[in-house]
Amino acid sequence: MSKIFAQGLVCPLDKNNVDTDQIIPKQFLTSVSRDGFAQAMFYDWRYLADGSPNPEFVVNKPEYKGASILLTRANFGCGSSREHAPWAIKQYGFNVIIAESFADIFFNNSVNNAMLLIQLSKTNIDLLFNRCQQGPQQWQIDLASQEIMFGNNAAMGFNIDADIKQRLLSGLDFIGSSEQLNPQIADYEQSRKASQPWLG
């Protein structure tokens, strides 16, 4: 069975350790809404001091306009736990991020926003960056078969945690699926109160 999770243009962001302060700087965190963060993504890199777009920054290059797959390096999303970071990335239009590694909290936050994060070896990430050097890339991501398909029958496999794959394929109901265990939660609360009354 083939199930295309995403397809589209790839934007190569050739950096390690991209932290969430870079993905969305603090001045955008005073919002009380979940929306409106697309413009803020990579703000300090994306705009010059006068507010105009920085033509040197890869996301702004005309050939990457409309990209939906972000390719990057190691430890992407490190730093602050702000979920505004995946909100901004998703609202901009990326729903897949491919990297050598991700920071844990960022990874969870992204999955909770139905984004697919693909982790590959450094060698494979290098291969993908090499492909991007040949010109703008259009890839398809098949989540069921766990493959990145480059066209012309070329593909690269990836690993993904079975539970996360299941959640992404079935559509998320993050809180709802835990609420199925409400009776167990109530039992746990009771026994906790009995054995550790000081916890409340």
Binding site: N16, N17, D19, D21, Q22, P25, K26, Q27, L29, T30, S31, V32, S33, R34, D44, A49, R73, A74, N75, C78, G79, S80, S81, R82, E83, P86, S101, F102, A103, D104, I105, N108, N109, N112, N113, D161, A162, D163, Q166, F174, I175, S177, S178, E179, L181, N182, Q184, I185, Y188, E189, R192, Q196, P197, W198, L199, G200
Partner: protein, 471 residues
């Protein structure tokens, strides 16, 4: 079967299984603040859900508040709205809140322990990455995102998978002027900012046993900076003594039972860790970051490294970019480097021992001309104590600004920013590009190092010469 401390805490919180490798864990304490909670509350409302355990939820205002004066208005319109949203959400859901009028208000990771909310064996979460701080008490504490905040509000649980375990064993005695901040910077320098990804790190060894609770908090606070999911230290009598008598500590009739339980919280002697790192405490010297992430760190008397000295190509590129951003040359000594701003504060280093260490460098001296220096205590409790002990007077007499509690210049969400191109000696935890203000150049150091830099107007190797001698 032998278990690590992490595995013990994890196992005792399993409510049930969600999936093959995902467990639902019960959360003992949920700390919230104004920045990462508003969307969670609106999500709850939208889905007609309520807060399951307001009695296990505690809120403070910290990230966004002005530290100049205690007013919701003082840090701008959008900040005020966010602070008001928190107050309204807490009132509506009966969640206790330390707001700006409360004498104990402060940074969430300072007040949790101070109020006795943080206890061994608990699972503690907060929509903030430095929740790792609370691991100093032998609690499994980690940062979460806003969707997870909403999940915890609704269910008091969180889906989790078992993390790998890392033991960082630090033995030996720290030299004079070497602090827990230097220890954790040295550990991050060794392991790298991603070295802990996927792991929960337990710190152990004689250097840890000798550390005060405040030192242990500094250490665990920055375990997230090496990517670890959490930092952990097994509780001992230092932990119990710290907790005893705090507002939310177990009351007299439960105290002995609580301590008996806490004493079972350690990694079994034959527990197997996925990775072990050993560090000699005596070899650690005062540290300073030279780059734009915390692994770009060195001893203060070393020279700024040349990018070519890194064999790994990506580290080389990162060093090159960092030096350009920081306005530094390879081979340069930071002890020759002028500082413009000194910030003593943040959840890493704003507790009373931090302020004492800083004040000891300052007493009877003046902040160098042209340096802007501020001290932002971590909480109302710390502030009062520092004033009572005369530390505040030492700082203000020297020319430091003495502020109200909050996150302040750690991330500059309020009006405390470092200007573009300015160099800041900061006791906070992140030297990321733009963290303290666009174009700001942050050097992470200990409180004593920051205070010494304020007096000298440049970075100083405080371990090299007797205190008080002029450079």
């Amino acid at each position: 079967m032998a278990q690590t401390l992490y595995q013990k805490i994890y196992a005792s919180h399993v409510v049930g299984k969600l999936n093959a490798s995902t467990d639902l864990l019960f959360v003992d304490r949920h700390l919230i603040h104004e920045v990462t909670s508003p969307q969670a509350f609106s999500g709850l409302k939208l889905a007609n859900r309520s807060v399951r355990r307001p009695d296990l939820t505690f809120a403070t205002m910290d990230h966004n508040v002005s530290t100049q004066r205690r007013s919701l208005d003082a840090a701008g319109e959008t900040s005020r709205k966010q602070l008001e949203a928190l107050a309204a959400n807490c009132a509506e859901n009966r969640i206790p809140l330390l707001d700006l009028t409360h004498p104990d208000q402060g940074i969430v990771h300072v007040i949790g322990p101070e109020q006795g909310l943080t206890q061994p064996g608990m699972i503690i979460v907060c929509g903030d990455s430095h929740t790792s701080t609370h691991g100093a008490f032998g609690a499994l504490a980690f940062g979460i995102g806003t969707s997870e905040v909403e999940h915890v509000l609704a269910t008091q649980t969180l889906p989790q998978q078992q993390a790998k375990t890392l033991k960082v064993e630090i033995n030996g005695k720290l030299s004079a002027h070497v602090t827990p901040k230097d220890v954790i910077l040295a550990v991050i320098g060794k392991l790298g900012t991603a070295g802990g990804n996927g792991y929960v790190a337990e710190f152990s060894g004689s250097a840890i046993r000798a550390m005060s609770m405040e030192g242990r908090m500094t250490l665990c606070n920055m375990s997230i900076e090496m990517g670890a999911k959490a930092g952990l230290i097994a509780p001992d009598h230092i932990t119990f003594d710290y907790i005893k008598g705090k507002a939310h500590a177990p009351k007299a009739e439960h105290w002995d039972a609580a301590v008996a339980y806490w004493q079972s919280l350690y990694s079994d002697a034959d527990a197997v860790f996925d990775q072990i790192v050993e560090i000699d405490a005596a070899a650690i010297t005062p540290q300073i970051t030279w780059g734009t992430n915390p692994e770009q760190v060195m001893a203060v008397d070393q020279s700024v490294p040349a990018p070519e000295s890194f064999s790994d190509a990506t580290k080389r590129d990162a060093a090159e970019r960092a030096l350009a951003y920081m306005g530094l040359e390879p081979g340069q000594k930071l002890t020759d480097c002028k500082v413009d701003v000194v910030f003593i504060g943040s959840c890493t280093n704003s507790r009373i021992e931090d302020l004492r260490a800083a004040a000891s460098m300052v007493q009877g001296k003046k902040v160098a001309a042209g340096v802007r220096a501020l001290v932002v205590p971590g909480s109302g409790v710390v502030k009062r104590q520092a004033e009572d002990e005369g530390l505040a007077g030492i700082f203000t007499a020297a020319g430091f600004e003495w502020r109200e509690p909050g996150c302040s210049m750690c991330l500059g969400m309020n009006d405390d920013r470092v200007e573009a191109g300015q160099r800041c000696a900061s006791t906070s935890n992140r030297n990321f590009e733009g963290r303290q203000g666009r174009g700001a150049r942050t050097h992470l150091v200990s409180p004593a190092m920051a205070a010494a830099a304020a007096i000298a107007g440049k970075f100083v190797n405080i371990a090299a010469k007797p205190q008080g001698e002029q450079a």
